[in-house]
Symmetry: C2
Amino acid sequence: MPPSTGDHPALHEALAAEDHRTAAGRVLSVLDVFDQDHLELTLSEISRRADLTLSTAHRLVGELRDWGALERTTEGRYAVGLRVLELGTLEPQMLQLRDVAPAYLADLQSAVKANVHLSVRDGHDVVYVESLQRHSGAHVLSRLGGRWPLHTTATGMVLLASAPAAVRQEVLASPLKRYTDHTITDPDTLRRMLAEVQRTGVAVLRETITLGTFAVGVPVRGPSDRVVAALSVTLKIDGSLTVHQVLPALNATARALSRALGTATPGTSPSRPLGPSVRPFAV
Amino acid sequence: MPPSTGDHPALHEALAAEDHRTAAGRVLSVLDVFDQDHLELTLSEISRRADLTLSTAHRLVGELRDWGALERTTEGRYAVGLRVLELGTLEPQMLQLRDVAPAYLADLQSAVKANVHLSVRDGHDVVYVESLQRHSGAHVLSRLGGRWPLHTTATGMVLLASAPAAVRQEVLASPLKRYTDHTITDPDTLRRMLAEVQRTGVAVLRETITLGTFAVGVPVRGPSDRVVAALSVTLKIDGSLTVHQVLPALNATARALSRALGTATPGTSPSRPLGPSVRPFAV
DNA sequence: CCCCGGCTTCCATCGGGCGGAAGCCGTCGG
DNA sequence: CCGACGGCTTCCGCCCGATGGAAGCCGGGG
């Protein structure tokens, strides 16, 4: 960034493209430097990645550490702290879903013997709220809190199809990131598929993220029939199961889950869902 | 807080106990107002609870919302955003554990038919990283990211027993919060129990949080035999199972999990744990 | 030995965060 | 109908504390 402006110290002001971040923005910049590929960073790395002077980074990191937002690893590097996780679990949608959903997901999984996902929409992304892997240990792509663009996953398509028209237009107008040869990147195709999803209530996406798999997604509705989440099953393309074979179980589970959610909101204080009405395929 | 200082406006300065928070501190104050019992708040509630003027709260909340740390509910209130959850899942210990642990926990659970917990230490608290409930739907006490003081849970005792001496002394010197009649609140008793845990490698706590249940905890070790987590089983007191009946399975699972973790660290880049060596009670 | 990179502490300055105030909106009650 | 109220949003001038430069510390390596 600062490649010898030394020659003309006079114009360093002009070139240095002032920093218009607010104090709060700088704090968030620090948090922003951590991602999947940067779990642990030294202070100087943070300062570089966040584009903050070392002294500022030092002070902010210190305050964040005191609060628990960051923690110091044994090797002296910094990482996101458990306090952030604790705070994150207070997100209301996800809190409610994680309360009732696991049982339904487990039943569905044992019925179809495949990976099962429950997701909600956050802006233009789909976020995993709960997932069950067939052979646990492969949490790779579907980590809790994991994000994908809406157009790349079955649950994303379901959520996009039922999102406010404004959101749909924004997504259709924005560049559609490609992950495989089969990722749908053409707005017109996407528009057509969305219409189809709206008509049928089911989204089927083939190899849009991972080659060799396809996913089937359906909506989960909360009180007043609003779509609050999406449920999906991911299958191997050369596997034994077809869309039509899993669809009944998927739909039944989604509807049972919807019913369980629907009962939860009349009272403002979450009036215990009592017994999860009907759980198809219950053990 | 401001009970009619109006009479003597002159001394409002003196009484008003200046606010020594930094800008970053105020940002964190805003996040701090959200907890288990305050999932959604209006702007004014936030401003009151965080002790910020309305205009300041307004601006900070706006910035946090733009970043995704907060979101606006349909009713116009504010809540923690999914971005926080996403960030929280980057916490390294928890990330590694959640990658490999689920399979082991599932095996253990199906072997003992009881609730199973995996926890790590964060300061003077124990934090749940993963848990399996016998009858799903009762995630109540053991929500992911949930916190308890170290002296109140079986996993906490295990982690405290293996924590640096400094931590142990701090906890022993601090007031030990009581939850039930059986919560251990006497430092001397705690010290004795810790010694016992260190000697035997097992912690058994009866009704220290919830009446009618007891829990058995054992350490989980990572590379270089450092204790990185604790594994526990929670049983009904009048149930059929005794400590001695679950201990073998618990120990075997903890050791298998330790081995799986141990293999993961030689290379600095997490060199895939390949196959989870031996999983006792595997299905 | 010195140099280098990373970290920590200190301090004067100045820009932007702060809070007061005014105005907007919807709701309730007289 | 109007007025009061609570909650929210916007605006703006002042002052203070965040900022970043600089100096000093530590450890490793050439």
